[in-house]
Structures are given as C-alpha cells and as structure tokens.
Amino acid sequence: MEDVIVRYVSRFILPFVQLYGLYVVLHGHLSPGGGFSGGAVIGASMILYALSFNLAAGSKKLSHDVSSILESSGALIFAGMGLISILLGANFLANRAAGFPLGTPGNLFSSGSIAIITFGVGIKVASTMITLFYSLIEEEDHSHDHH
C-alpha cells in the first residue's frame, strides 16, 4: 500500500494512539478500560503502521519473533503475580492478603498487584494482536508463493 495520505495521517496519529493505549493500560485499575482495551489500542496502532507502510517496515519496528516473546511474557507476568501471592503466603492472585501495598485509591500507584497484572495483560493483548496479524499476513504471502 503506497498511499501518501494514509501514510501521513497515520504517521501523525500513531503517537497519540499509542500514548492513549498506554494511558488506558496504566490507568486500568483506576478508570474504565484496562489491559485488554489499552492493549488492543496499542496493538491496533502497530497494525496500522504495518498496513500503511508495509510489512517489512512493521517487522523492523516490532518483529514477529519479538511480539511472540512479548506475548509469552505478558501471560507469564499475570501467572507470575498469582504465584507471587502464593509465595507470600496468601491464596492465588490474592492482593491485599498477600501484602501488596494498596496505596490511596485513585492514585496511579495503588491497588497492589492489579496494576502490574493489568500491565501484563496489556502487553499480552497488544502483542497477541500483532502476532495474529503477522501470522495471517505471512501465511497469505506464503500461499501466494505457492500459486
């Protein structure tokens, strides 16, 4: 896709989209939204980049390999936080009982493990969307080679 308008517009809005996604993820424990919504926004921004420039450019920014590594690590953060709760002597995924500092409600640094979990979910969702996109696109390329 070699459309100048699309390129310019996307180049213009991409930072805002990503910033917004990051904001939603980081404020997941405070406001509507959270890991999934924010992650989806971030993922969409990368997809937009790869679509409006091209696949190679997209891969250069965030390759398929890296995104699948991120995908795993996002999930691992989630599961790991749960396990940490157990290590701290509470039930799986316990928050206050495990002794995570809850802070003042409404502050950015509050609500203990939830913020971290949301962050993990954000990474997971964003990278999953990108990985899915790559998988589908690359598969298609592959098939074109065959025909």
Partner: protein
C-alpha cells in the same frame, strides 16, 4: 507458607504458566521442552494425587481465588468428582505426552513441536480447570480454552484433513460454548449468582417463578456440553477430528477431552439443577435415549470403518454413550459405573489410540487390512491393543468389565433391564470390530514380504505398557479407585 493448601490453584496454574513459558523455551532451549512439559504435568498429577488423599481423609474443601470468598470470587471446589477427574486427566495426560515426546517428532514439523507442548499444557490446565471450578463463568472460560487448545492440537498437523476437521470442530465447539454461555446468562438472570453452590440454593425458588426459563437453560446446557462431549446426534465432528489428528492428540481428545465435558454435565445436572426440574420434562429419559442410540449406532458405524483411527473414533462415540447412560439412569450403581467408565475409558481409549499410533509409526499403515501379522513384528503395541480390545468388549479382569458390571447392575436396580441388554449388545458389537484386528495381527499369514517396521523408542513403549498394566490392575483390583467413585456418586445423589 504451606504449599499443599494452594494445590487447587497450582494444579491449574503450573501447567498454564509453563504453557506460556514453552514458546520461549522452544526458541532458546529446545531440549528443555519435553522435560519441562513432563515436569509440569507430573506436578499436576502429584497435586491431584495429594488432593485425592486429602479429600478422602478430610472431605471436600474449597479454594478461593484471590482470597475472595464466594459469591464474589471464583471458588474452586475440590470434591470427590473433581479430584477423581483431575487425577484421570493428569495421569493419563502424562502418559500420553510422554509417548508423544517421540511420536510427535515423527508426525509434526520440528518448528511447531514447541507450540504443541504449549497447546497440550493449556489443554491439561483447562481440563483440570473445568472439573474443579465451582463457577459457571469460570467454567465457560476453561471450556473455551479447552476448545481452542483441542482444535489446535488437531490443526497443528497441517494436512488438509486436519485443517478441515479442526474447522468443523471449532465451529461446532463455538456453537456449544455459545449455548453454554446463553444458559449461564439465563441462570444468572434468575438467580443472580454464578457460583454453583449459591445457584443451586437459589434455583428452587426461581423454578417456581420461571420454570420455562430454567428448562430452556437446561436444554441449552445439554446441547452445549453434548456437542462438545459428542453425545449421539451431536457427534458429527468427532470421527474426522479424532482420526485425522496426530496420535497423541487423538488419544487425549478421545480419552480425556470429551469426558471432561461429561463431568461438567454431571456436575450441573446433579448439583445445580433442582431435582424437581427433572420432573417437568423427561430430561433424563432423553439423555438415556440419546446414549442408547450413541451406544448402538456408534458401534455400528465403527464396524464398517476401514481406517483404524476412524474406527476408534466411532467407538468413542459409543463409549461416551455409556457414561451418559450412567448419568441418565439416576441410580447409585449406574452413576458409579458411568463415572468409573470415564476413568476406564480414558485409559483404554488412549491406549488404543497410542497403539494405533505405534502401528502407524512403525509401518505407516492405517488401514485395518494392512495390519496383518503386525503382532509378530510389533508385539508390545499389539498386546496393548489386544488388552484394550478385551477391555472394550468387557472381558473380566480388564477394567472395562467393572464399569459394565456397575452400569448393568444400575440398570437392573431401577428396573430397566432393557439398558442392561443395550450394554450387552454393544459389547457384542465391540467384539465384532475389535477382535478381528487382534486376530489378524496375530494369526493371519501374509504372502508379501513385510518390511521390518521401524523400531519403537522406549518413550513410546513404556506408556503403552503402563496403560495396559493399568487396565488390568483396575480390572483386578478396582477398589483402588472405587472408593472415591462411590463417594462422588453419593455426593451427587445427595445420599
């Protein structure tokens, strides 16, 4: 810090955690994939075993995820049925993937093997999750993970049959999950709870107000879980899916996955829905009718199959019928038989699929007619197959006999000898399609020179041997497992 009290969570989380770790391992430390997978499942297995002893000595207990007590949080209910099913899933699942660690090298492209372990661990985790959760939405999530993972382990072998079978399976699975979620929504609507225990408390009152709503919900649940468990008219996806998949996948799908849905159905039918609701509509009779048809027609279809794995797949349709027969008869013995058959069939059918996989591995033959004389060239898989076949027919001293005994006794207990006859007829049909294979394998001379089959590695033979040993052991000494099955049945029937 006391680890053992967190086992209910860990039994699910550890495989889940390593499932996500697996892609990373596959990238950097490929040789670690197998030991880590095995380790994770062994951990779950030991956890299940520990919980079995715990439950047997101190009774059922619950675990609150995130320290949130119900009705707010997700509750894992560790009762007899749950630990029984968890033990089955992890135990048989362990042997299957042990076998698979070699067989997969043969069947899959090397770059996807790491993903296979991811999917397999996800599958195990979700199956254990389904059986131990006490929350309907949590169950839905695990059902979906289970559905995707099981489609995944079919489509990972990128032959066109597999892809097509996986797609068919996926569509029907989604349909099933949709029905399940709709039912969950309806139940939530009338009770305001997602937790099974609270739901069960609220349902009798709700039933007086909205009986139709509940009946629709019950119907949707039976259809939803029935599709996934391949209960007779909803079984259309099973033969393709189970026969085209790589052999370890077939074994786990036929041996475990469809049973897990049956366990979920048992839990919902017996523990959640009020017994009076069953009086409003002949639900149990419908289940009985479906399972009878499944038993007879599944066996009949199996007779005409030429492909060994397809035959085994049709046989699974018949065997899941036994489980539902036990569910539908509503007597203690029958329920014991049905639940016990979950375990027994898990062992028998995985063993049969693994043995079939060994034949395919060794000779490349899938057709029944090509398996002549295989008993002389590959004795251990053939003997395992033989034991599995006998167990399927229900010859005494194999575990298949014990479950049939209980089912037949249960049918007589409620004064319905017709179902005893159904069980016997189907055993005969089983004999008609299983025994000729055994006979051909040992006693028929082939004119053409058979090429020496590939030698099977130990990793494939030992699980087969262990499974056959298990089939015999639980046939001779069933009290090992019967204690917990009895208690599960009593708990379900409220005795």
């Amino acid at each position: 810090m006391n680890f053992s009290q967190h086992l209910p969570a860990l039994i699910v989380v550890v495989p889940l955690f390593f499932a996500f770790l697996m892609p990373l391992l596959a990238r950097w430390r490929k040789q670690w994939c197998v030991p880590v997978t095995l380790g994770a499942i062994i951990f779950s297995f030991l956890a299940a075993l520990k919980m079995v002893f715990q439950v047997m000595s101190t009774g059922p207990f619950s675990y609150y995820m995130g320290d949130w007590p119900p009705p707010w949080g997700i509750e894992l209910s560790i009762d007899y049925l749950a630990v029984f099913a968890a033990l089955t899933v992890t135990g048989v699942g362990l042997l299957i993937i042990w076998y698979g660690s070699k067989d997969l090298l043969h069947e899959l492209k090397s770059e996807v093997i790491g993903w296979y372990y991811t999917l397999y661990l996800l599958l195990i985790a979700s199956m254990v999750g389904i059986v131990i959760t006490n929350d309907i939405f949590n169950m839905f999530v695990f059902l979906e993970i289970c559905a995707i993972a099981s489609c995944g382990i079919i489509s990972i072998k990128e032959s066109r049959d597999c892809i097509e079978a996986a797609f068919k399976y996926l569509v029907l699975s989604v349909l099933g999950s949709g029905a399940f979620l709709l039912a969950a929504a309806m139940l939530y609507m009338v009770t305001g709870h997602l937790n099974f225990t609270f739901m069960a408390e609220a349902l009798p009152e709700a039933m007086a107000l909205y009986p139709n709503n509940l009946l629709v919900a019950l119907g949707l649940l039976i259809v939803g879980l029935g599709v996934k468990a391949a209960l007779f008219p909803l079984h259309v996806w099973l033969p393709d899916a189970h026969s085209s998949a790589p052999s370890p996948s077939s074994a786990v799908l036929s041996g475990l996955v469809i049973k897990v849905y049956a366990v979920a159905m048992i839990r919902l039918l017996y523990l959640v829905f009020p017994r009076e609701l069953l009086g409003l509509a002949p639900v149990m009779d419908m289940i009985l009718g479906m399972s009878t048809l499944a038993i007879i027609i599944g066996s009949m279809f199996a007779i005409v199959q030429d492909d060994i794995k397809k035959m085994l797949a049709y046989s699974s349709i018949a065997q899941i019928g036994y489980v539902f027969l036990g569910v539908g008869l509503m007597s203690e013995s029958a329920l014991v038989g049905g639940i016990l058959h979950i375990f027994n069939h898990a062992m028998m059918k995985s063993m049969l699929f693994l043995a079939a996989g060994a034949f395919i591995y060794g000779t490349g033959a899938r057709k029944l007619s090509e398996l002549k004389g295989v008993g002389h060239t590959m004795p251990i898989p053939t003997i395992a197959f033989c034991i599995g076949a006998f167990a399927m027919v229900g010859i005494p001293i194999t575990s298949g006999f014990i479950s049939k005994w209980y089912l037949a006794l249960g049918a007589l207990d409620v004064g319905r000898p017709f179902f005893t006859a159904v069980i016997l007829i189907s055993s005969l049909l089983n004999g008609i399609y299983y025994l000729p294979i055994v006979v051909n394998a040992f006693f028929s001379k082939t004119e053409e020179v058979v090429p020496e089959p590939e030698k099977l590695p130990k990793q494939m033979l030992v699980p087969l041997a262990l499974l056959s040993f298990g089939v015999i052991l639980f046939g001779v000494y069933p009290s090992l497992i019967l204690g917990i099955v009895y208690r599960a049945a009593q708990l379900l029937l409220g005795l």
